[in-house]
Symmetry: C2
Subunit: 305 residues, 2 copies
């Protein structure tokens, strides 16, 4: 199994020519999930060849402008481009009212169905699930109600160890599904063939945890435990620890601490304050706690397999 | 006298990497007026070095996204950048509610004063005036309530013909203001010195008419008569006259007809549909009616003097 994360923007606050606000596309199983949607996201999608029609689910972490001001434009453009398929939007209560008011005032009627899933819980909850993927919230600590999102592949069926299976003529094709689901097979003479003899482990399901924006918050560690990829905001360096605390943000070092405590495989950082000219310092600082740290850069794709 | 118009974006509908939606900055007298504010305008302002602090008045023609989706982001950024001076926004009723809802939901309190001037009249009205400039609406015909804007320099005081004035010792410095205002001077012996002998004509006041979006609408001709510069939308060419009519837009030829009938000095076109790959065709078509036609191109500045 594998997934791909493309960074459309990874800076905080005011957009600049080469510093776009937060937005990412996660390609996992047959989904293309858009995560946050700062101003200009639709242009970034065009720039990095993200097909508009593939986006069916958009996850908005919180209602600060650098995470959602691009949403109304994207929704409108979908309409102008004659989109037909439903669009699901997951985000804090209030988002629906903002979008609907703007559509109403501009007398825009989009032909597709907009389905809002408004979030209010302060506990982690399952917000999307199909046969292959599960998405849950990660309650974060910020100045306004904020959720991160945990994207998890589901365990897939076990794989037949076909060479062994074929040694037993009693096992027929119609039994395969039960074997894949992990059941043992009982021969007519009563012999039990243990499932692990007949099947192989499936590929390990992967997971991605998106955490932006948040103060240093160890409460999330149990939710993001052992994820393969963790995006954790790092708006500041330790030189502005106090400012991070006041504004509900994290330092790169704190992001490293969370990654270490959660035992993730890879940490990626973003949401850099425009104060810092050289973002390499973020990586260096986080690596004091967690070596396997990389930096989000606009246009980068992380492939996890 | 002179004014400068800088084009930040001049395309219609969905923003693209090199086709930004409508926004312009008019530098006239001591003002920098922002006219319309499509998504991404604040980044375009940075790109073309438009000082954020200089913008004190924003004029929004109508509430279609490609003309105002960038406004909330600009307002937020002004707040993040610690703006203190008042910001006046002129636009259709509904705009205030949209902006205030978003500020409220995101718990954003901007430290400066936001002053909304909501427009509802379907007749041309004066919406801004100071000693040197006057701004009036140009009611347009579009799918939603839309105004263009007419920016007019005011006639300045007459200039002293100092060589002539000095021939009359009876005229003292304290009389100069009356002369500049056009009054005659009466000598003690009763001789009337006509003002035109003592003063020279002031520079001719200039004017700019901004007309977007609109169907072909000859009713505006009397309002924009003899303006020095006319921006008129040209979303389509004559090959899509019917579509222009249905969508409440104009063709380049129609823009040329308006310019000709209004006797303007220079016509500039914009709001091109993304359907057309080569915008030169817009100029060519408008020139069938009005020779002095130029095309808006992102980043261009028109200087009128």
């Amino acid at each position: 199994m594998s997934f791909q994360l493309t960074i459309l923007g990874c800076h905080s606050a005011t957009p600049r020519v080469n510093a776009h606000p937060t937005s990412q596309v996660l390609q996992i199983k047959n989904h293309h999930f858009l995560i946050d949607c700062g101003e200009g996201t639709q242009v970034q999608m065009r720039k990095y060849k993200v097909g508009f029609a593939k986006i069916k689910h958009i996850f908005i972490s919180h209602l600060h402008g650098d995470h959602f001001f691009g949403l109304i434009g994207l929704i409108s453009s979908f309409g102008l481009l004659n989109r037909e398929s439903d669009l699901h939007i997951y985000g804090p209560k209030g988002l629906k009212e903002i979008i609907e008011l703007q559509l109403q005032v501009s007398q825009t009627r989009v032909a597709y169905k907009l389905v809002f899933h408004e979030l209010v819980s302060t506990k982690s909850e399952l917000i999307f699930e199909d046969k292959k993927v599960r998405v849950s919230t990660i309650p974060l600590k910020h100045r306004v109600y904020t959720n991160g999102f945990l994207f998890q592949e589901k365990e897939s069926l076990r794989k037949l160890n076909i060479k062994t299976v074929e040694k037993y003529p009693e096992i027929e094709v119609c039994d395969y599904h039960n074997l894949k689901k992990g059941k043992d097979f009982i021969l007519k003479d009563g012999t039990v063939l243990k499932n692990e003899v007949l099947t192989l482990d499936p590929p390990k399901p992967l997971s991605y945890a998106y955490c932006s924006d948040t103060s240093y918050n160890p409460a999330i560690i149990k939710i993001i435990k052992n994820t393969d990829l963790l995006y954790h905001e790092a708006t500041f360096l330790e030189d502005r620890l106090e400012l991070a605390h006041i504004t509900g943000h994290s330092t790169a070092l704190q992001a490293g601490k969370i990654a270490k405590a959660a035992g993730v495989k890879l940490l990626i950082l973003g949401h850099y304050s425009n104060r810092y000219k050289d973002i390499k310092a973020f990586q260096k600082e986080a690596q004091q706690e967690f070596q396997n740290t990389l930096l989000c850069v606009e246009g980068n794709t992380f492939e996890i397999s």
